[in-house]
Symmetry: C2
Amino acid sequence: MNQTSRKAVVLLSGGLDSATVLAMARAQGFDCYALSLDYGQRHHAELAAAGRVAGALGASEHKVLPLSLDVIGGSALTDRSIDVPEAGGKGIPVTYVPARNTVFLALALGWAEVLGATDLFVGVNAVDYSGYPDCRPAFIEAFERLANLATKAGVEGRKFEVHAPLIEMSKAEIIQAGTELGVDYALTVSCYQADEEGIACSVCDSCRLRAEGFRAAGVTDPTRYRA
Amino acid sequence: MNQTSRKAVVLLSGGLDSATVLAMARAQGFDCYALSLDYGQRHHAELAAAGRVAGALGASEHKVLPLSLDVIGGSALTDRSIDVPEAGGKGIPVTYVPARNTVFLALALGWAEVLGATDLFVGVNAVDYSGYPDCRPAFIEAFERLANLATKAGVEGRKFEVHAPLIEMSKAEIIQAGTELGVDYALTVSCYQADEEGIACSVCDSCRLRAEGFRAAGVTDPTRYRA
């Protein structure tokens, strides 16, 4: 349990937000252990992107943990009988994956315990968040509290910190911050239904938020869209 | 979201405790959806036991979700380079699986959301608990709070309840309660290193707690031990 190494576990999806978070954690001096979940998502190209991003941004290690969320179903992202909608619906969308951030943070917490780390980084965002409940500040605070009760490290008096540096930022602000830190967004994939090469659909909620973000940030959008 | 059906998700390991919890949930009138995690545990016979227990106690459905916790390692139960110790060590033992109950409850929460259920049952126990931090009442309360912030159901004002009916019971009390509810403990496997047929080692912490429980309860121990 070497405290001086400042290890952190960073949840890395391969999308724009988590790539920015990894760059921020690196800029703060953390040795970053990137964790991606292979949860039966449609946009498998995201995982390939996660590997590229972990390498480009100097993660110390990148693990991909298979997680069969399709066994419980319930989301357009993991259940192929539910169509991914075009942007603009009201309320919590069908792309919501039940309890996703709770599950992902729990797994990040487990790896952090193994590593002797007490810092977790996650790219949740409460501004351009598509209405997912587990992207709000109160959720992050509740998870931090849980982590300190759930773990050997917490029992021993070390405090977990869940860093959600994007939580109050707009997509444009995230893109500006990441661009300043040298993130190459051409490596990332955000589309809910990207093809195997990571080419984006341009019509889903995630594509819409991303494209609007680049426009508002005044940064050239490197995303490859289907013709 | 049919509230009258009173669906509940029950975490079912195939061991003695969770079998008792399933019997208790059924006795309270819940339609029980049993969830087992195949997390690379050494005692794979537990999962076979979970299937038998789910059938015998009338679960409406039993799902086994593969979860590669061996990717993150860190426990004698998932990492074959760490030996399972004999009973009697001090402190949190190496059989502790990092963040296990946090991960398992998170997955149960996800399935509950899909089912429209807001009741989760888990067999954690703070008395004969081997020193695991995620078996304490404060942990369960913190998870319940998190669940209400993490989910669509919580946002919509329905309250999650995490039932941990064994939390203050001794192993002997658990065995007495289960025996009254008709649980056939011969179907269950508790040993950390049971063989493929579920034959127990008799020397690990889990075997010791189980054997002492039957003795203290005055109930004949149906466990099959290695000669």
